[in-house]
């Protein structure tokens, strides 16, 4: 399980995350929502040890993140940060294979190749395998990076704005894939996401941040309310029902 205990992060005097205590459900998709600068990415980055906390700590399986052996943690937790994107000139296949690095240490075994194949297939980018990622479109590159995180085959998958650059059909494909991973393979998935209609359709649990604090937290059903979302985003957001699902209307 992933949890945090009065987690704070400040740059200079400015808090970007303020005493956040949360424990996130297992085998579910948890979405972090909030305005730009609300602290969503910061929280994800601290949980995945990409940046250190100023105060408090994050726990993965009951153990402080800072006490985890980095490689061991990489076998249990994959993070695709917003800035992890690189445009090195390596092939898609090689990139996805690097996802196996924490397990293989560089020399790929039979099982590693299987996992790479599987990740390529799941994300539907088998036909791109030989292409260099610096020659791909932004969306294709994003898919390759997601495939890399999936190939890492970890219990926890953390994705910071995975739908960036993706068209609607790819976005839906990725969200369905994540839901499948959570349901069928008992993965715990944490995503930062801006399109709240995707949240409404696919997320099981929502953590809503505002000004560095967790303002609302709960099941998708409980948080997807007009007054809550309007408060979080500081704008009027109405909710309409469509075939039993909630659609947010915020285009004014």
């Amino acid at each position: 399980m992933i949890s945090t205990e009065s987690l704070s992060k400040k740059y200079g005097d400015k808090f970007v995350l303020r005493e956040v205590s949360a424990s996130l459900p297992e085998n579910k998709i948890t979405a972090f929502i909030g305005c730009n600068g609300a602290g969503k990415s910061t929280m994800l980055n601290i949980i995945s040890r990409l940046i250190p906390a100023s105060e408090g700590c994050a726990f993965v399986d009951g153990k402080k993140v800072s006490e985890w052996d980095s490689r061991k943690l990489a076998q249990n937790l994959a993070i695709l940060g917003q800035n992890s994107h690189n445009s090195a000139r390596i092939s898609v296949e090689d990139l996805v294979a690097f996802g196996r690095f924490p397990h293989s240490g560089g020399s790929l075994a039979e099982r590693d190749f299987e996992m790479v194949e599987r990740a390529l297939k799941m994300t539907g980018i088998e036909d791109l395998r030989g292409r260099f990622i610096d020659e791909l479109s932004g969306g294709q590159r994003q898919m390759a990076h997601i495939a890399m995180s999936i190939a890492q085959d970890t219990k926890y998958i953390l994705l910071d704005e995975p739908l960036n650059n993706l068209d609607m059909s790819r976005s839906v494909k990725i969200m369905k894939l994540l839901r499948k991973l959570a349901r069928e393979e008992s993965k715990t998935i944490l995503i930062v996401i801006h399109d709240i209609n995707f949240v409404s359709f696919y997320a099981d649990y929502i953590v809503a941040l505002k000004d560095g604090r967790v303002k609302y937290e709960g099941s998708s059903e409980a948080v997807m309310k007009s007054e809550i979302l309007s408060d979080i985003y500081g704008m009027r957001i109405e909710i309409e029902e469509y075939k039993g699902k909630k659609i947010c209307v915020y285009y004014q």
Partner: protein, 317 residues
């Protein structure tokens, strides 16, 4: 790319030519009945020269490749980051402070100084990170020139300027048996680089990626810079400053085969050796029976490729 068999064949053919080019006339047939003088030239001059070319060329190309990955910049290399100049300064310091210092001590001093220099360079580059990729090698070249001037000044002050001329300009004609063997230090380093090739590729994908895969980015960068400093120092002490090999070779290969260190390391070593070998043969033939130092030829060729790379930089860098 060519099949490994073909690569070795081409390199072997050029090596063969190299052995029989020179003022003293030795033909392949003479090998079976070498006179005393001929055998001296062959085993003290020609053969060591060939070996030093192969080792220096391949190891500098590999060093450039590693440096480009760990600094995430296509334009850095031992030449354009000033590493070679720092090495020279190190040698001057060693010669001045410890007269009669053994070659191994000179390599040590060169390595220590160039490590310090490269870290200084890295610190400066980190301050300007996010700016144009072209700025990085320009900073390196400027810093290198300043250091070079400093080294020359000290050499002048302590009257070893003539000594230093050979380090200023790489020259294989000074290589003779017994004076270059330290260069072989680079061979195990190349194997080490191959062994850790994936680590360098991952470091080249950024701090975040390295960390998310459970690797210590800083440790990889430090290890890589140590390899680069050792290779450069061994080369400067053994044969002098061989410029631009580490810049041209990995970049040309990356266009065809990508950035994966493991995928191109062998090609890199091969092409580096071949490039230096061909430039060396050319240098010996252009104004035969005199010689143009390899440093001059490579500077001309390297600068041209460097300009082309910078101009097309947006596409591949």
């Amino acid at each position: 790319m060519l099949a490994p068999f073909l690569q070795i064949l081409i390199l072997a053919a050029c090596s063969f030519c190299s052995l029989f080019v020179g003022v003293a006339d030795i033909s392949p047939l003479d090998l079976f009945s070498l006179s005393g003088e001929q055998s001296g030239i062959f085993f003290v001059g020609r053969l060591p020269r060939l070996c030093s070319i192969l080792v220096a060329g391949s190891s500098l190309a590999v060093a450039g490749l590693i440096m480009q990955r760990i600094m995430q910049n296509k334009f850095v290399s031992p030449t354009t980051a000033g590493t070679m100049q720092w090495c020279k300064l190190g040698v001057v310091i060693a010669v001045v402070c410890l007269p009669g210092a053994s070659p191994i001590l000179r390599v040590g001093a060169a390595c220590a100084v160039s490590l310090l220099g490269t870290f200084l360079f890295l610190a400066i580059v980190n301050k300007v990170r996010g700016q144009s990729a072209v700025l990085v090698p320009l900073i390196g070249i400027m810093l290198g020139s300043v250091v070079d001037a400093g080294a020359t000044f000290f050499a002048y002050k302590f009257d070893i300027i003539q000594n230093m001329a050979s380090w200023l300009q790489g020259n294989f004609s000074l290589v003779i048996a017994g004076k270059y063997e330290l260069l072989y230090l680079s061979v195990p380093l190349m194997f080490l680089a191959y062994f850790y090739a994936d680590y360098f590729t991952i470091a080249g994908m950024g701090k975040g990626t390295a960390l998310s895969l459970g690797l210590n980015h800083a440790a990889i960068v430090n290890a890589g810079l140590l390899i680069v400093a050792l290779v450069s120092s061994a080369s400067v002490v053994g044969v002098g400053n061989i410029p631009f090999v580490g810049l041209i070779v990995p970049n040309v290969l990356a266009i065809f085969k990508g950035d994966g260190v493991k995928n191109i390391l062998w090609d890199c070593a091969w092409l580096g050796a071949l490039l230096v070998l061909i430039c060396d043969i050319a240098g010996r033939l252009i104004i035969f029976p005199y010689e143009i130092p390899i440093g001059v030829i490579l500077s001309v060729a390297g600068a041209a490729v460097f300009l082309v790379l910078i101009r097309s930089g947006r596409r591949y860098a």
